[in-house]
């Protein structure tokens, strides 16, 4: 099947515009005009409606905007809220830039793709021009020649508008449509094959969704490059990675305590050590009282007389803390007793931290002092 078209060639844009207008006024059907550049005024001469791509662009832009706002809102407030500098989850001002960018991206790319599809532009498409010079310097007017028109009339009309050549041609009818159907068929076939291949491959490989992904680029966040502390080392002294501390090092939080659990060392501690907390430090005294109430009072009694509640239930009562010889014991030696225990009393190292042991000694001294004051002296005596 082929049909007849009339082809007029022109050298100037003004001529082709005039000819198009004249042909349309003369009742001919303008199939198309081929020009080397966008000729302004030709769309009016051909009677083309304004392009509707504006609306496509608007729709794609609106879609991009809504999608971007939703994505940011949903990820930042619903799916995985993260506190960023105390800003609210839904920080709308901070979402504006990305919403704008995605709107432009969607609108631009979408419009161009719709344009390509609508005007059937695709990579590799063959172009069979009426005149190879249309993309260089010639303007070609193509009229529908199927009607009862006489070539001579048309020739006269176009030549009155300075046409350089007018002739009639046979073009394959429906070429465009046939070619399009074939291309679509081929595309569908290709997509179908690709889909089948993907599904077959998926089935054949039996992919386990729980298996970790293939590591295409080893990440040193997973596989640390630093040395493991307890592994052997080929370069460090004695083959060990973790080196011995230098002589004289003190471990953090462990001050040296060069005293044994003997009466001699207890006496030496009394001479050498002194309480790091002054007796007039109210915070330290208060802490000491609290510690005393927790750990000591149950045996030694609230006043330190050695009459704690356990003594009424068969435990031998300890010596009164207010007794003269107890009062003579130096702070350091008391600390030694607290640390190692003495007679029935066991070590309190595990229960009372070092600083609290010093503080509780402050409290004991205060009990003793209060006992020495006249009013409490009389109380003691009355008992």
């Amino acid at each position: 099947m082929s049909r007849r078209v009339i082809v007029g060639a022109f050298d100037r844009e003004t001529d082709v515009i005039a000819a198009t207008q004249a042909a349309r006024d003369g009742g001919y059907i303008v199939e198309d005009v081929y020009t080397p550049y966008a000729v302004h005024g030709l769309d009016r001469a051909m009677g083309l409606k304004p392009s509707w791509l504006t609306w496509v662009c608007f729709a794609f832009g609106a879609f991009g905007l809504v999608f971007a706002v939703w994505l940011q809102f949903w990820t930042s407030t619903v799916a995985w809220p993260i506190n960023v500098g105390g800003r609210p989850w839904n920080s709308l001002p901070a979402f504006v830039p990305i919403a704008f960018e995605l709107m432009v991206l969607s609108a631009g790319v979408g419009t161009v793709l719709v344009f390509f599809v609508r005007r059937r532009l695709r990579p590799g498409k063959r172009c069979v021009p009426f005149d190879v010079r249309t993309t260089n310097d010639r303007f070609i007017l193509v009229l529908d020649g199927e009607g009862p028109s006489d070539l001579g009339d048309v020739r006269r009309l176009l030549e009155s508008c300075h046409a350089t050549a007018v002739d009639e041609r046979q073009v394959a009818a429906e070429t465009a449509h046939g070619g399009r159907a074939r291309a679509t068929g081929r595309l569908n076939l290709g997509l179908g094959v690709a889909l089948a291949a993907t599904l077959a491959g998926y089935w054949a490989l039996g992919v386990d969704p729980l298996r970790p992904n293939f590591e295409f680029m080893p990440s040193n966040m997973v596989h640390a490059v630093s040395a493991q502390a307890f592994a052997t080392s080929s370069v460090l002294p004695r083959g060990q990675t973790l080196q011995d501390p230098p002589p004289g090092s003190i471990a953090r939080g462990l001050l040296p305590w060069p005293y044994a659990a003997t009466p001699e060392d207890a006496a030496r501690a009394g001479v050498e050590l002194s309480n790091p907390f002054p007796p007039d430090d109210p915070a330290a005294v208060a802490r000491g009282a609290a510690v005393y109430a927790t750990f000591c009072q149950v045996c030694h009694g609230a006043g330190g007389l050695g009459d704690g509640p356990v003594t009424t239930r068969g435990v031998p009562p300890p010596v009164s803390l207010l007794a003269d010889h107890t009062r003579q014991i130096k702070d350091g030696q008391l600390f030694h007793i607290l640390t190692y225990g003495q007679k029935n009393m066991s070590s309190y190292t595990a229960q009372i931290p070092r600083e609290d042991r010093w503080k509780v000694i402050l409290h004991v001294r205060q009990l003793q002092q209060r006992a020495m004051s006249p009013t409490s002296q009389s109380q003691v005596q009355t008992r």
């Binding site: 304004p50 608007f58 800003r87 901070a94």
Partner: protein, 378 residues
């Protein structure tokens, strides 16, 4: 047209009367409202001068046909100077840094915000603006007589120089008159933001005046839909630019959340002023943006006028929200001073514009580019 001038004068007088009564009932708000009126008029005049100068420098001949409109708008500048001068001389207490109520300023700010220096700068700004605007208008009108191309060439040079000093002086003026109402607040964007508002509202005013003058007669047959289409594009573009400056300033201050910067927005966004801010964003950006996006809307006189009016109202409110919270921090005041200030500004604008427009030919009839402007296509 003469009627409009008389009505404008009448409205201005009524406005002045209202202001005077308001001076008795609400004396504390008078200064701020007159400042608002003066500043808005100064912006209008500057926008006219800027538009004219920009067209000369950029060789934008499409606007020649209605160039007398922006030219005549520049004549508003002396009126603005009178209003602003009255405020600065009579109501120094408007500015916390004048010492009466403010805490001491130190260093450079102490030197800059100093009353005599402030007044000197005020005079210098207006001398520069009025000087350049007068030169532009005079050269353009002389061309009507002899049609000599040298006037155009001379105006291109004047315009280039004007644009340089304009950029600097507008920045400093917005800092002096508006930003220093909150003396401890600062923002480098403020001048750009003020310029954007001026030019946007200036284009809106030019649009309204051009359409009105076309309907009233003087520009009939001269102004075409193509001109309005291009003005519509400018309004669209500068509404978006205004939004861009507003958003950039707001977002950077919101994001960083520094105490010394957020004071400005807390006073406007976390008080009863908040609804007004959203009204401004709607009128100044959302309305022009959505309506003028389509091509037919930019070629429709009725729609253009409505959008331009929305923009002008939005701009007035924008200035209102810049100025008044420093006087009335709790809520937007409304009363005789507010109505009076608006009436004075609108009335004076029309009165001065019409008088200036009638002084010369409505079209620069011997400008060599007039033909181009009359026949171009979008």
């Amino acid at each position: 047209m003469a009627v409009v001038a008389r009505v404008g004068g009448g409205v201005a007088c009524v406005g002045a009367l209202l202001l005077a009564i308001g001076g008795v009932t609400a004396p504390d708000r008078i200064g701020a409202n007159v400042l608002l009126a003066g500043y808005a008029l100064a912006g209008l005049g500057l926008a006219g001068a800027f538009f004219t100068a920009l067209c000369y420098v950029a060789d934008a001949t499409w606007a020649v046909a209605f160039r007398r409109v922006p030219e005549s708008l520049t004549r508003v500048l002396p009126a603005a100077a009178v209003l602003l001068g009255a405020v600065f001389l009579a109501y120094p207490a408007l500015y916390p840094w004048t010492g009466a109520q403010g805490d001491a300023l130190v260093g450079f700010k102490h030197f800059w915000l100093d009353r005599p220096f402030f007044l000197i700068r005020f005079v210098v700004y207006f001398a520069i603006w009025i000087g350049f605007a007068t030169a532009l208008v005079r050269h353009s009108r002389r061309q009507d007589v002899d049609g000599n191309l040298t006037w155009t060439r001379r105006n291109v040079r004047v315009s280039a120089a004007f644009l340089v000093v304009f950029a600097i002086t507008v920045w400093l003026a917005s800092l002096d008159w508006i930003m220093s109402l909150t003396p401890h607040w600062y923002s480098t964007m403020f001048g750009v933001y003020n310029f954007a508002g001026f030019f946007q509202s200036g284009v809106a005013a030019i649009l309204i005046l051009v359409i009105w003058l076309e309907r009233a007669g003087p520009l009939r047959g001269v102004v075409r839909t193509e001109h309005l289409h291009d003005l519509g594009k400018l309004l669209f573009a500068f509404s978006t630019f205004w939004m861009y400056t507003w958003f950039s300033q707001y977002m950077l201050i919101w994001y960083t959340n520094l105490t010394e910067e957020t004071v400005y927005f807390i006073a406007r966004m976390q008080t009863a002023w908040r609804p007004l801010v959203f009204t401004i964003l709607t009128l100044n950006w959302l309305v022009p943006f959505l309506v003028l996006m389509s091509r037919p809307a930019k070629r429709n006189r009725g729609i253009l006028v409505k959008v331009a009016v929305a923009v002008l109202v939005g701009h007035w409110l924008d200035l209102f929200v810049m100025i008044l919270p420093s006087i009335s921090p709790e809520a937007p005041p409304f009363g005789l001073p507010e109505v009076g200030a608006l009436a004075v500004a609108v009335g004076l604008a029309f009165l001065v514009f019409v008088r200036a427009f009638r002084q010369a030919s409505p079209v620069p009839r011997k400008d060599v580019f007039l033909a181009e402007s009359l026949h171009y296509h979008n």
